[in-house]
């Protein structure tokens, strides 16, 4: 299901994420900078419970297509960047494990930082994804929900 080219690697799947795999893949001989963002599940809850895990639900196809749009928009804004990888995990993710990883390489670090931050900010606003908080004896949708935004409207 994943979208893979020489420069773009987008994946939404139930497999555990490896930040190292993405960062190593993003290295290019002409790119001296790789910036990686790793979003891990954390203990703070929107519903007041002691969270054990999070469960992410989406359509892998729709989510990957939207993430690919995010990558394309990042390339419009920062044409210098080299490789971009964005992986999002779905299904059950235990506390402290990565739920989303972004890696961007660039000849210089400023563009890599800016593009990586744009990518994760825009993924959070534009990609269909629903997070369920799981605690001992119960679960509920996260109460942080926001309307979906189009990538062109960011």
């Amino acid at each position: 299901m994943s979208v893979l080219s020489l420069t773009d690697w987008v994946s939404v799947s139930a497999s555990p994420l490896s930040q190292d795999d993405l960062a190593a893949w993003a290295v290019r001989p002409d790119c001296g900078a790789v910036v990686t963002f790793c979003g891990t599940t954390r203990c703070s809850s929107t519903t007041g419970h002691e969270i054990r895990a999070l469960e992410y639900e989406t359509s892998e196809e729709l989510a990957e297509a939207r993430i690919a749009e995010v990558v394309a928009q990042a390339r419009v804004r920062w044409p210098e960047i080299g490789a971009v990888a964005i992986h999002h995990r779905v299904g059950l993710v235990k506390l402290g494990e990565p739920a989303v990883v972004v890696a961007v390489s660039s000849p210089h670090r400023r563009e890599a930082f800016e593009a990586a931050q744009f990518c994760i900010d825009t993924v959070k606003r534009c990609v269909p994804m629903w997070k369920r908080e799981i605690w001992d004896g119960g679960s509920a949708w996260s109460e942080e929900a926001q309307p979906l935004v189009r990538v062109d409207d960011v």
């Binding site: 989406t58 196809e61 729709l62 999002h88 994760i120 269909p128 929900a145 926001q146 189009r150």
Partner: protein
């Protein structure tokens, strides 16, 4: 007739992720959804976006058996 994809709270409210629904426009399909799944689903639908084949759709857009109508409630990703 169109293929239906319900995600997150929409899937939960309807009790199904995939379905096939009568209707020749997005509006007709959604009307049949509310009739089939009830008030809890209608409440989620009122806050949701509707896409056809991966793009944002208008309620008047025509749909056929090969089209996928997706209901996407507010998101909470990452």
């Amino acid at each position: 007739m169109a293929r239906l994809l319900l995600l997150g709270p929409a899937r939960e409210a309807a009790g199904v992720r995939h379905d096939e629904i009568e209707g020749d426009t997005v509006a007709q399909v959604l009307g049949h959804c509310v009739a089939r799944y009830g008030d809890a689903f209608a409440a989620v639908l009122a806050q949701s976006q509707v896409w056809v084949n991966g793009d944002v759709a208008n309620v008047g857009d025509p749909v056929g058996p090969s089209d996928e109508v997706a209901v996407l409630p507010p998101i909470s990703g990452g």
